[in-house]
Symmetry: C2
Subunit: 175 residues, 2 copies
């Protein structure tokens, strides 16, 4: 019998290409957590290397504004992943995640993930490879978005600094 | 004795955390190529899953302009990697790479890389994990750059569409 958590994982692009037994390996390494509505699961500015997947309920992505208060960037549904940026590169979270309803999540700590890989499991490779795919796709879309924006009338003012920024992207932050 | 290629790999963030024997595994899977000055190694719009590392010489990153002609985005030196975006996510290359001098590169095909991982080598995991780290860092910097730009006077016109775009980034292209 397939549990609800197993089917959420099966549909998640982060676990593409994993066999059922490999997803079981990941599930065994994850912890299940429930949160009441209105709880902060992840706080902007903090840095924790945990990957979360929502299995039930909804969360909002909140970003603090310079004028004070918070702005809602998006609403996340079951199957959504968060924490992935800091999971792969330790750095402060760029936004907060707050529950809108009672929420059930699966969490994977970086230690458990590294352990899987060091034990010689192919799971670590497949997850990292899938993450690379998703991050590369986001970068590409973002690049397209900015290129399109600065090319339009009204975008002239940002063209030179975009060129400078692109140069840095290609050289300073090279692999 | 450490060869020149070995020392370039040792300094490359894509191979961080690899033991010397593991770097040798990668080197054995790579092919060495030389190109004359003025050659196109990678063509914008094409999609090839190969990862290149420059070991000698310099290349330029060129992007075609809507007005015709090309614009130089950056100059790459030994140690620089290119092709990494399409290597992790098959999609057309967003820019061309042309040699400025005689150039020596090491190239790794996606097939060879997948083979390493399937053979149970930790090398595939470490490379994918390092790539995830670099791509996440680039995304973070790009996000910061755009947030800062739209917050400035003159950026108002792009604020709403940036908000819409961010929402998509958080939901539609979730893992």
């Amino acid at each position: 019998m397939t549990t609800h958590a197993e089917s959420v994982l099966a549909d998640c692009p982060l676990f593409t290409g994993l066999e059922s037994a490999e997803r079981d390996e990941i599930l065994a390494a994850m912890e299940r957590e429930t949160h009441a509505a209105g709880e902060l699961i992840l706080r902007e500015g903090r840095s924790i290397q945990i990957l979360w997947i929502i299995t039930r309920g909804r969360c909002e992505v909140l970003k603090s504004m310079t004028s004070g208060g918070h702005q809602q960037l998006a609403v996340l549904e079951p199957g959504a992943v968060f924490g992935e940026m800091s999971f792969f590169h330790p750095a402060p979270h760029s936004a907060s995640i707050r529950t809108l309803t009672e929420v059930e999540v699966l969490r994977l700590s970086r230690e458990k993930y590294d352990q899987l890989a060091c034990d010689g499991s192919i799971v670590g490779y497949r997850m990292a490879s899938n993450a690379g795919r998703v991050l590369a796709e986001r970068l590409r879309r973002m690049d397209e978005w900015v290129c399109e924006m600065v090319a339009r009338p009204g975008g002239e003012t940002h063209r030179d600094e975009w060129r400078e920024f692109q140069k840095k992207l290609y050289t300073e932050w090279q692999f």
